[in-house]
């Protein structure tokens, strides 16, 4: 069983294949790309996702999404992986000039990742600690699709003023302010009232964004998001002592 056979088998089963190869890549779909010959790692997953990785960088240089159809072709021109995603109208050709290694195996992986510390956790935290937002803020709803759009946190100040809160886990930029502005304006328009406060909550803010917030009468409140949420009491972390 040679390399070609191994690749063929991997493409036709739900195995995962890892190929080290000197190859050239062409892609056509949402954009078009060409990549001249070089040594790369090719990953073909069980769900037929395909990734081409160069020796440097975080992201794949080329890729095809899951459910792509891969065909291994070997003729006088050489070896190729021809990938077609007819539904998305995306196509890729990998010309394999030299195969360094091929590894195929079935990966048993029943678990999915548990992640915490996202923006939802931040708005939950703010909801539990409304004093961080100040001015007598009373939370009403969080992360909900209101009639006015998707609002992170929504409440009032106990003084007949509605309060719309937009929160960002990291430094807020102009986009955060315009988002907040959209919500506030939508509510103003539908309620026909002026007593609506907009509050932007984030650990930091860019100069421009702060200026924009002030121009629009919004409050910026600097709040550090919780380092991590402890979801179980017995949360013994082995990674803790760096």
């Amino acid at each position: 069983m040679d390399d070609a056979d191994r690749i063929r088998e991997a493409l036709n089963t739900s195995q995962t294949a890892v190929i080290g190869a000197r190859c050239a890549v062409e892609y056509s779909g949402r954009a078009e790309s060409k990549l001249a010959t070089g040594d790369r790692i090719i990953l073909v997953k069980a769900d037929n996702a395909l990734l081409v990785h160069q020796p440097n960088g975080n992201t794949p240089v080329n890729y095809m999404k899951p459910q792509t159809v891969h065909e291994f072709v070997q003729d006088e021109a050489g070896m190729r992986i021809k990938s077609r995603d007819a539904k998305r109208k995306e196509y890729m050709d990998i010309l394999l000039e030299k195969i360094h290694f091929v590894n195929c195996l079935t990966l048993e992986d029943p678990h999915s990742i548990q992640l915490q510390g996202n923006e939802k956790d931040f708005s939950d935290y703010l909801s539990l600690h409304p004093e961080l937002i100040g001015d007598g803020f009373v939370p009403v709803s969080r992360e909900e699709q209101t009639a006015y759009g998707f609002v992170d946190l929504f409440g009032h100040d106990g003084d007949n003023n509605l309060v719309v809160v937009e929160c960002k886990r990291f430094k807020a930029g102009p986009d955060a302010v315009t988002q907040l502005r959209r919500y506030v304006e939508k509510i103003k328009a539908s309620k026909g009232v002026d007593g609506i406060k907009g509050v932007l909550v984030a650990p930091a803010i860019t100069k421009n964004a702060l200026q924009m917030a002030e121009d629009w009468g919004f409050t910026y409140k600097s709040v550090e998001p919780p380092r991590f949420l402890v979801k179980s009491k017995k949360d013994q972390r082995s990674i803790g002592d760096f």
Copy 2:
């Protein structure tokens, strides 16, 4: 030379390592995550980027960025890859329970990808075909950092009206309208004039975005971006006949 030695070597050189292993992963940094035991592909690149891939899906389930420091540890508790990115304050631990294979090699890859069909190409195309925007549009500058921000396309209508064009390669959503709105307002504020037109150009637009555009007096123009730009006359594509 066993698996442990091979991994150790790969982590200490500018080789690229591909490891198939049953492992558990913990991450702490911008967020926190835990991933219980399962079979995965681990990629450690020449620049010390590290990726953990499950058998399905496009994106890595866990990762560390380039320039991370990796340490291979083997003791009574088992084998671990301890990754530390002190600068970014990101940390990862991979507990290796069973190693299926290890492949290390030096990847020679001098080329970078050539890609076309991005938004810049779209605005270039519109600049060459101003009639697509209509109303006697005369382009002046494109994709430039003006005093008012980064404007895709900027011009006038031959009738003393400035025209600001925001273009999107795909369906435009609310964000596109708010972006356009920011630029138009900035220019209005600094020039103190009202004769400024805002035009949103995209192949499609969402209902909400169209409503927003109309509310703000902007024009939406449906234009299909060019399938691809031919940058060289002799552009023989071998991928052509899918």
